[in-house]
Amino acid sequence: MILKELMAVPDIELAQIKDRHAMIRLFDGYATERMEELQAEKLKRPLVKSHLLEILDSHGPKSESLQVIFARHGARLNPLDESLFLVTDAKEGQIGFLEVLRPRIVALYSPLRSDVLTRWVRRTVMSNPELDYVWFSGLTFGVLWDLVAQLSRPNRFTRLVFTHDSIFDIDGPERETEEEPAEAEETSDDDAQEVVERRATSFRLVDRVGVIQNKLTAMQRLYAPLYAISQLRFPSPVGRGGHDFYDNGRVTNRSESFRDHRSHLLFVVRIYEHLLMATEQRAWYSIQDSVGFPGQFRKIVGAPITLRFKEPLTQQVFEHWITATFERKRNKFRLWGHPLRLGPTKVHVYGVDRHLWQPLFLELTSTGCTAIIPNGTCGNTVHRLVTNIQRYLDPGAIAFIGDKLYTQMVKESANTVHYEPNRD
């Protein structure tokens, strides 16, 4: 199936939807139709996709502030109720519906074709410091995979995608590219493919949950890029198919139920929000008053973030990483700063996360990275850093917040949320 044969904009009139109930009925029916088409291998309209976005407005995503944030870039939010909006764009027309799922996280539901929607979301996020993707690192996906294995029947099919691209492990300088990877599109034009001479892993694995559960850990030990999970399907408990979560917060509904899709979003978003707060609570550095003497006794509170590479980078790779990150405006890590050289493979950067405009102090070495995030820096900065390090530098990297394993924090966040796939 070639995606471009699908209609960019489906022939449904979203503006006719007047309330939440109607939206859910519309997407439920729409999802059932698409599943039937998929089974017949005749998909006529795009699937419903959700994009999970974090709102960085310090006041939380109140209705008016949300409208202001999106309006800056030509998007109009028409409220259907207190937490649901119809989204239209001045140029692109109808986009979908935006729902406030949690105080800091919204979901955009849309039946637009994948490439059209992804481009719109990317443009909106990239130009707006109050918006960011929800970032699922390979380490986070590792914990979510454990949940899939625990909650799904072993004979259900699931799908994992692994993506690792050692862009700094190259002989020549890296091309200036888009900061966010474009959606992979299938092409039959093998002649046009670039010659890749660096470690680049991107493959999907579709098999039964039980089979993958038995093999994955051993396979990861043998081949580190398998730690860099970039997509994961939660099998739908109400029928065939499931929900494909991408590392940048996109979720494709490949099930026959939109209600089930939304339940899965809520489940994962609750975990993510808990993780965000736990990260910030633990990692934020600030000077605070010691008890008893306000303004007199001040102590430092916080915990450094440590990322440790499984294998040390060569000096050449380290050099490419630093050069490509801090000498180019458009860089994969979206960081700004002036590296202070402290040795052949050690630099300090008192810099800025250039997307969220948050301060970030980094020690980068061939064996890992230490980060200090001042009070107020969004936890998303950390999760994006972990995601990018796994994707572009070392898929087997492990992370700590203070002396606590990052994956342990994800597990603890997951333990606070109960899996109720049919809960609304």
Binding site: G292, Q296, K299, R354, W357, D403
Partner: protein, 353 residues
């Protein structure tokens, strides 16, 4: 400039930042071994202003013992479970009993003594132990111990209750920084006497960690190169604060940059604690020196984007999204590396924040 050329262990700013890192929670196998965190110590206060009890001040006056009426040890560590407090002072070298620094040391010995609870404003039941610990290069420990023993004896002779002290050495070995702990330090900090590796580093590499406190006008830097390097770190942090302020703003907006806020951001809030007026003024001068350079660079690309009002400080005008982007681009292109860091900040007779 090459920061690896400097003798790091005699640099009080390096010493201070190392102490802070030793109290941080870090995973096993890190290049920094957080010995103090592992033993349960936390930072209770950085550079806290502490008074010598009045009766002891009076007693010292009567006995003609020179001491300072108040002082700020560099760090105050606490062990919350054991209710112990360590007053840490970092020094580049030893000092003699007749030096000015000895006056400060006498005050610290009294503060860390039996009256520590009163000095800290705590219930005596909440202070079960206290110690004054000096951190100096390993080669300076025995000379300093001799001085402190004499100061302790002098105070006790006049019935002024001096506290226990420890002299902890810092030494750089091959690819390691080590802490040398004496008997008193061992008992108090629950660390074995002798040498402990606290930092491991690669060949030809500066062992310094990220600096929590990047600059202190009151310390004597081991070299001009090191002073300029620390000034550079301070400037990088102020520059990043300016960029963050512009990046987070929506247009149209006038962003006001206050020198005090920028310095507090850059120093994790420590600037507000500087009581030394000359030092605070020096810091403001540095901040203004950088802002003037940024203003020149940005306005060269985007005319009148940044202006200075003596009453309100610096103002960054962001008119439209396109204008904002140009200002941000100009800000990101600027680097304090292009400045003459050796140039002193200009005197400002009407020094305003």
């Amino acid at each position: 400039m090459n920061p690896t050329e400097t003798d790091r262990v005699s640099d009080p700013l390096f010493q201070l930042n190392v102490v802070l890192w030793l109290t941080q929670p870090l995973p096993q196998g890190s290049s920094i071994v957080p010995l103090l965190h592992e033993r349960g110590f936390v930072v209770y206060a950085i550079s806290p202003p502490l008074p010598v009890p009045l009766d002891l001040q009076a007693a010292a006056q009567s006995a003609r013992v020179a001491l300072q009426n108040s002082g700020r040890p560099d760090v105050l560590l606490a062990h919350p479970l054991e209710r112990k407090f360590a007053f840490i002072e970092c020094k580049a070298s030893s000092f003699g009993p007749n030096s000015n620094t000895a006056e400060q040391a006498r005050s610290f010995l009294l503060m860390a003594g039996p009256r520590a609870a009163e000095v800290l404003g705590l219930d005596p039941a909440h202070v079960r132990g206290s110690l004054l610990a000096y951190l100096v290069p390993a080669g300076q420990t025995s000379a300093l111990r001799t001085t402190l023993e004499q100061l302790q004896r002098d105070l006790n002779d006049f019935q002024m209750p001096a506290g226990n002290f420890s002299v902890v050495g810092l030494e750089m070995a091959a690819l390691e920084v080590r802490l040398i702990v004496d008997g008193q330090g061992s008992a108090f900090l629950s660390l074995a006497s002798g040498s402990h590796v606290i930092i491991r580093f690669q060949p030809e590499t500066d062992p310094r960690p990220l600096y929590f406190i990047p600059y202190d006008p009151d310390v004597t830097y081991p070299s001009e190169t090191e002073r300029l390097f620390c000034k550079r770190i301070l400037f990088e942090r102020i520059h990043s604060s300016v960029l963050v302020a512009a990046g987070r703003s929506n247009t149209p907006a006038d962003i006001l940059l206050s020198v005090n806020d920028l310095l507090n951001d850059a120093m994790f809030g420590m600037y507000a604690l500087w009581e030394n007026r000359d030092s605070a003024q020096h810091m403001r001068g540095l901040c203004k020196q950088l802002l003037q350079a940024i203003t020149r660079a940005v306005n060269g690309e985007v005319p009148q984007a940044i202006s200075y009002d003596p009453e309100r400080g610096w103002k960054v005008a962001l008119i439209t999204d396109e204008h904002r982007q140009k200002v941000i681009d100009a800000l990101t292109r600027f680097s304090c590396e292009t400045m003459n860091l050796k140039a002193p900040p200009e005197e400002d007779l009407f020094d305003r924040p």
